[in-house]
């Protein structure tokens, strides 16, 4: 039997499950990837798929600030809180606590940003601050889970997985959803899992937030034993055996196996290349403060974005300031300020900011008061996040909290609304991006979600 006679399409029709093969149909060449696109329930996670409508953004970089950064010390100035500093708060055991830092107006828009973030502030006209964020839960694990999956009660796919499911991956040599420095304890892996979506929509995890390392890696990417030529020799014999079996069985999945080895071999090449920052100039390393874990993550995020990765998540783990707010805010803002600013700058300079949506924020914000005078409690009723690029209006603050910062009162954006908006910017209708599981159609936004049209450029 001459294999050449058996066309790709024929094989495709003849595979029993089709699933594995379909996944690879898109991996090997983008032309075939296009052919298999845009089936609403297609299992193909890798080929590029058509969005529901013309998208503003093509990829997302999510800067996840675990712990719940204080909005009153970053993007939501509260003069009244400062004026009433020390007065008894709503909670009688606590006193109101004004910010120790000043806010200044920046850019043409005059957006107010805390003085702790001078570099980020230079990009004020690119930022769209959502001051009316709110979410359902005030515990870290649940709020983080809801921020990532829309649900804190049930195990649901991550937003990155939905994105990959809806749009596929642009780069056939790299994973489409990468989480750098992911949270792995307190249920963390849930935040990046595909749940009931095809397994290929799961995030590829680089490193582990419990053990921050500067050079996170993908599992089994490196062979320390064989050089490339020797490994190719090994692979050649393996593939010869596989091709024989394919000829004997004409089983489509075996062609899938063969292609997976070739792709893996290419990934060994491509991924370390993307992750190798030795080619970056000294000034870039310095601008990103890339000797530090967080700075390195931001630089890698830019490189992954350039390489066409669909959804990239970066994590800073330490914003849970029940005490030591002063030291914590000073240190953390210093850590994130330069790298985040450099990321925005580089994306803009490369013309990529227009179709890259950058998201900054934590699972909730903090209370205007606390029993101690240098700390703040959890606050899920009102907090700030910001978006930049990817078709959102820059230089604006949308919504507000009350005069102290207890809760969102105007321009309220629930986390479901944010999800709906992110999908919208990516060209996906959050009510139509569904997956049938256990007899019902599931959505990232469940039965909720409103696109915040006011911030769309």
């Amino acid at each position: 039997m001459n294999l050449q006679q058996l066309s790709r399409r024929q094989v495709l029709r003849q595979v029993s499950s089709g699933f594995g093969y379909l996944a690879f149909a898109g991996l090997s060449a983008s032309s075939t990837a296009q052919e298999t696109s845009s089936q609403p329930n297609s299992e193909n996670a890798h080929g590029v798929k058509k969005p529901h409508f013309s998208p503003k953004a093509k990829r997302v970089i999510f800067l996840c600030m675990r712990g719940g950064p204080s909005h009153m010390e970053t993007f939501d100035p509260k003069p009244k809180l400062l004026a009433d500093h020390g007065k008894t708060a709503r909670n009688k055991n606590s006193k109101l606590l004004g910010s120790r830092w000043k806010f200044s107006k920046h850019g043409q828009s005059g957006l107010e940003i805390v003085d702790l973030l001078p570099e980020t502030a230079r990009h004020a006209d690119k930022l769209c601050v959502l001051r009316g964020m709110h979410t359902d839960n005030e515990n870290h694990p649940q709020a983080l889970e809801q921020m990532h999956t829309g649900s804190f009660q049930f195990i649901r796919p991550s937003i990155g997985s939905w994105m990959l499911y809806g749009l596929g991956s642009e780069n056939q040599n790299l994973p489409g959803f990468i989480s750098i420095n992911p949270l792995t304890n307190l249920g963390g892996l849930r935040y990046y899992s595909s749940a009931f979506l095809p397994a290929s929509c799961s995030a590829t995890l680089l490193g582990d937030a419990n053990r921050p390392v500067k050079n996170p890696m993908v599992g089994n990417l490196i062979n320390n034993r064989l050089n490339r030529a020797a490994q190719r020799e090994q692979l050649d014999l393996l593939q010869a055996m596989n091709r024989e079996l394919l000829a004997n069985t004409q089983e489509g999945r075996i062609e899938g196996v063969i292609e997976s080895y070739e792709l893996a071999f290419r990934m060994q090449e491509a991924l370390p290349g993307v992750m190798d920052i030795s080619g970056e100039t000294k000034s870039t390393i310095a601008r990103y403060n890339a000797e530090d874990t967080f700075g390195r993550q931001c630089l890698l995020a830019r490189r992954f974005a350039e390489a066409g990765v669909r959804f990239i998540e970066v994590t800073h783990t330490d914003w849970d300031h029940h005490g030591f707010l002063t030291g914590g805010m000073t240190r953390n803002c210093a850590t994130i300020d330069k790298p985040v600013a450099s990321l925005l700058e580089d994306l803009a300079q490369r013309g990529m900011l227009e179709d890259t949506l950058v998201i900054w924020g934590g699972e909730f914000g903090r209370t205007p008061d606390d029993p101690t005078t240098d700390g703040r409690g959890h606050n899920n009723k009102g907090y700030s996040m910001w978006l930049a690029g990817g078709g959102v209006r820059g230089g604006m603050a949308h919504g507000s909290t009350d005069e102290y910062g207890y809760e969102a009162i105007d321009g309220k954006v629930h986390i479901h609304d944010l999800h709906a908006t992110i999908l919208h910017l990516m060209g996906l209708n959050h009510e139509k991006l569904t997956y049938r599981y256990g007899g019902r159609d599931f959505r990232l936004t469940d039965v909720h979600g409103r696109v915040v049209k006011e911030i769309v450029a």
Partner: protein
């Protein structure tokens, strides 16, 4: 107009009662103009309904497709009949009227955009209290979503299966009834079955299907000899010996553990270990090995504690079985006890639905099932059974007050359990108390530490009363020292208690009857605060047998539930089970949605075969082994995976079954994660095939009375290594952190019922075979074992590798090709730390290692034909 009411089908007594009440109120009032109720309605009620409600709740909305919740507020009947959540109002009873609750934004929030002004709500309250006078006529005809009970009883999967035999004439191929069904369909489509596979393919296939392991060289040899001596009996004898092997339970027990979402840790936010879950795992393996009838198997798992027993061991065994219901992942971070409780119950209902009945019932928690004939009332009548059942999973996370309500006992088992249990339980309660005291002291101390740090900052500010502040600082520093002492004392007390446990019994997860069985109220939209009618405990109404199983008032109803599930007239239980068994053997279920036999599920490809198997299975005493024996000895199973091209070239045959729905061949199937690991280790020579002794397990490293403290969590998030020499079924299943290899090869998610595993094909799997250190180490041991055999030359070694790994002889060409590769020393990357160059022997070993590695990675190893 009252006749209208009756026509529209009033169901509950309470509705009839208020119907009566309405009559009494309305009739004597006479002329409309003189009616103050009418005036009130027209001025205060109707305008609000029109302006704020009827956009979504009216006949007009329904005609525009905008009707929400099936609720009409444009007629009196609509209000009284209500929608998905039951009647909107109960005249005279504002507190039981959902409409009012929704307007008050308690539970439901209506209208959704903005809460109505307080005085409007007060008017509605008064109106309902006064009997809810409403002159509006009109009948409600709602197009019902989903299926009615009557329609449901006509749905294929809810009709009792019947055993029909297909006509046998003209069928010279079949050897048993299974074949006849398969052959009849093939003949209909003019497709011929494939020829029988060769003996080597068959022996390998059977070993993997029945025992999850490849045959050893000796086992292959013995089979070929037996085939030579007694061709007619060799296969049945082989099947019988594989069914009798303890490895059968290890393979098929794991299939059940997939649907039972077995796990050795809780998962989710607090991933504490289920230290005692392994009793249940071993119970399942043993039950499969002893061929415990499936009906009895289910009965024990759902109501084992309520069954007769004939010895203390038998009692323990049946208690362990009920861990099935307690095994689910729980949200221990949940701080509301009622929400926590209903979430646990929901998980149990989903479990019963998807694992046994092939129905997803979770939807009915919040609204009548959109597709299947399962109502919210059905859901909460099952919920009542589980509300009357106490799950026993043990202490959760010690030392946190807010969620201490979630702690439960465990069930003591084994010798002396009755004597030892009380002191054991008291000990765990004491540990909790001491841990709480310690944590409280720690956080009290920490609060002062924080205040101190703030004060130290403040003192640097201009204009502060430094002398006052510095004396406060001094005071706080002293306080911290005091707290240091207290904290140390609490820590020491806890430590002492931990180090000195009393004699403890063995424990198991389990369930038991709660002290006072109770029915459950409908939770409107699943909300624990918005309660509707009380529904009696029971099973879904769509099953005609349900009325045969009344639940005694003083019992939970679990026993009745179990008996109902295994009743021969239950149309689903046997069907769902035989379908899963079929799927594990043939790679594709007769129903391809093994956990959904409902409207959204797929229809069976061979309905008569499915029914035959279900009835036959019950007739054969629900014996899993007999069922499997019949399936693997069918000619259908013995077919080869014949070539599509050859078949299509056959004259007159149009090959039109790419998905192999009709089973005209046996397609290669991928080894699942456990079989892959076990096969690699057996071939390499590193597998210990004996069952794991509990004291050697991963969990034995931990002290179950010590590790659950909140702050000690992090080690529990480490995935267990896969170095354990035993079979994969004995590796602990830690939710959320499965071993890398299991994750890569689509191990069943232990978070939920898995009736069918994924079959992904991703580059990360290829990377595993190319670069994984564990795999390479197995390959090295394999090649060492080959090289040290002095009786073999290199061709003999290659031949032996093929035999071991692929259960077949290598061809001359294959040996030649391998030798060309193996004759070169490996070009390994030099180790910069090594003092000397590797020897030629070492490089030879490395080359053979590379070869053995690629054998493991080959499609022939990863797929069974």
């Amino acid at each position: 107009m009252f006749l209208n009411f009756k026509k529209s089908g009033m169901r509950s007594n309470s509705v009839n009662l208020f119907l009566l009440a309405t009559c009494l109120l309305v009739l004597p009032l006479g002329v409309a103009e003189a009616n103050p109720n009418l005036a009130f309605f027209e001025s205060k009620i109707r305008p609000i309904l029109v302006t704020h409600c009827q956009e979504c709740h009216s006949a007009k909305a329904a005609s525009e497709g905008k009707l929400k919740a099936g609720l009409f507020l444009d007629s009196r009947e609509g209000l009284l009949k209500g929608g998905e959540n039951g009647p909107a109002i109960k005249p005279g009873k504002p507190s039981e009227s959902i409409l009012l609750a929704a307007m008050k934004y308690s539970g439901l929030e209506m209208p959704p955009k903005q809460k109505l002004p307080q005085e409007v709500i007060a008017n509605f309250e008064k109106w309902i209290l006064d009997g809810a006078f409403d002159p509006r006529e009109g009948t409600v005809t709602v197009k019902k979503q989903g299926m009615s009970v009557e329609e449901g009883r006509k749905f294929w999967s809810l009709i009792r299966p019947e055993k029909k035999l297909p006509p046998k004439e003209g069928d010279t191929w079949s050897s048993n009834a299974v074949d006849q069904f398969i052959f009849a369909k093939l003949r209909e489509k003019q497709i011929s079955p494939s020829p029988e596979a060769d003996p080597l393919t068959l022996v390998r296939r059977l070993y993997f299907t029945l025992n999850g392991l490849p045959p050893t060289e000796d086992e292959v040899h013995r089979f070929l000899q037996s085939l030579h001596k007694k061709p007619q009996h060799a296969l049945p004898e082989l099947v019988d010996s594989l069914l009798a092997s303890t490895h059968f339970g290890e393979k098929w027990g794991r299939h059940w553990l997939d649907v039972a979402r077995y796990a050795d840790s809780n998962g989710r936010d607090r991933n504490i270990f289920n230290y005692h879950a392994w009793h249940y795992r071993d119970y399942v393996i043993q039950a499969i090995n002893t061929d415990l009838p499936y009906n009895q198997f289910l009965r024990e798992q759902i109501a084992g504690d309520l069954l007769q027993h004939n010895s203390p061991e038998d009692k323990d065994k049946k208690t362990v079985a009920t861990a099935f219901l307690a095994m689910g992942s729980k949200a221990f971070e949940e701080s509301k006890p009622e929400v926590f409780r209903m979430d646990v119950i929901d998980e149990q209902i989903e479990l019963i639905g998807r694992s046994i009945l092939g129905l997803s019932m979770g939807c009915a928690r919040c609204h009548n099932h959109k597709f299947d004939p399962i109502s919210t009332a059905d859901y909460y009548s099952l919920a009542g059974i589980f509300r009357s059942t106490q799950p026993l999973y043990g202490y959760t996370t010690m030392g946190i007050k807010a969620t201490a309500f979630a702690h439960t006992e465990l069930q003591a088992i084994g010798p002396n359990s009755e004597k030892l249990a009380p002191q054991g339980l008291a000990y765990m309660a004491k540990l909790q108390e001491l841990t709480l005291a310690q944590n409280t002291a720690r956080s009290d101390r920490y609060r002062v530490v924080r205040a101190l740090s703030a004060a130290k900052l403040d003192i640097q500010k201009p204009g502060v009363d430094t002398s006052k502040l510095s004396s406060e600082i001094k005071l706080m520093e002293e306080k911290i020292k005091e707290w240091d002492v207290k904290v140390k004392r609490h820590e020491a007390e806890l430590q002492t208690a931990m180090d000195n446990p009393p004699a403890m019994p063995a424990w198991t997860m389990a369930v038991r009857e709660s002290q006072k069985p109770e029915d459950c109220k409908i939770h409107i939209r699943g909300d624990t605060l918005t309660l509707g009618d009380l529904v009696p405990r029971g099973m879904p109404k769509v099953f005609s047998i349900t009325e045969k199983f009344p639940i005694p008032a003083n019992q939970s109803g679990r026993l009745e539930l179990a008996n109902w599930l295994i009743d021969p007239e239950n149309p689903l239980t046997a069907r769902v089970y035989v379908n899963r068994v079929w799927q594990h053997i043939f790679g594709r279920g007769l129903v391809t949605t093994p956990d959904d036999f409902g409207v959204n599920g797929s229809k069976p490809s061979h309905p008569e075969l499915l029914d035959y198997l279900a009835v036959h299975f019950m007739e054969q005493g629900w014996s899993t082994k007999k069922l499997i024996r019949e399936l693997v000895l069918s000619k259908t199973y013995l077919q080869s995976g014949s070539l599509i091209s050859e078949r299509s070239e056959k004259a007159g045959e149009k090959f039109t079954d790419p998905d192999n729905v009709l089973v005209s061949q046996i397609k290669p199937h991928r080894l699942e994660a456990e079989a892959l690991r076990d096969a690699i280790m057996q071939v390499a020579g590193t597998l210990d095939k004996s069952p794991l002794k509990p004291e050697r397990g991963f969990l034995a490293k931990f002290n179950p009375y010590r590790e659950n403290e909140y702050r000690n969590f992090s080690p529990l998030f480490m995935p267990p290594d896969i170095q354990l020499p035993n079979r994969s079924v004995y590796l602990p299943v830690v939710r959320g952190v499965l071993p890398e290899m299991f994750q890569l090869f689509d191990f069943a998610s232990p978070d939920r019922v898995t009736a069918q595993r994924e079959e992904s094909l991703v580059p990360a799997q290829a990377l595993f075979f190319m670069n994984n250190p564990w795999l390479i180490s197995q390959a090295r041991i394999f090649s060492e074992n080959m090289l040290k055999d002095p009786g073999l030359d290199d061709s003999g070694r290659v031949a032996k590798i093929y035999k071991r790994a692929f259960s077949r002889d290598a061809t001359v060409a294959e040996i030649q090709r391998a030798l060309v590769y193996l004759n070169k020393p490996e070009s390994v990357i030099p180790n910069p730390k090594a003092n000397s160059q590797p020897s030629m022997d070492q490089l030879r070993l490395e080359r053979w290692t590379s070869f053995c590695q690629l054998v493991f990675g080959s499609a022939e190893f990863r797929y069974v034909r």
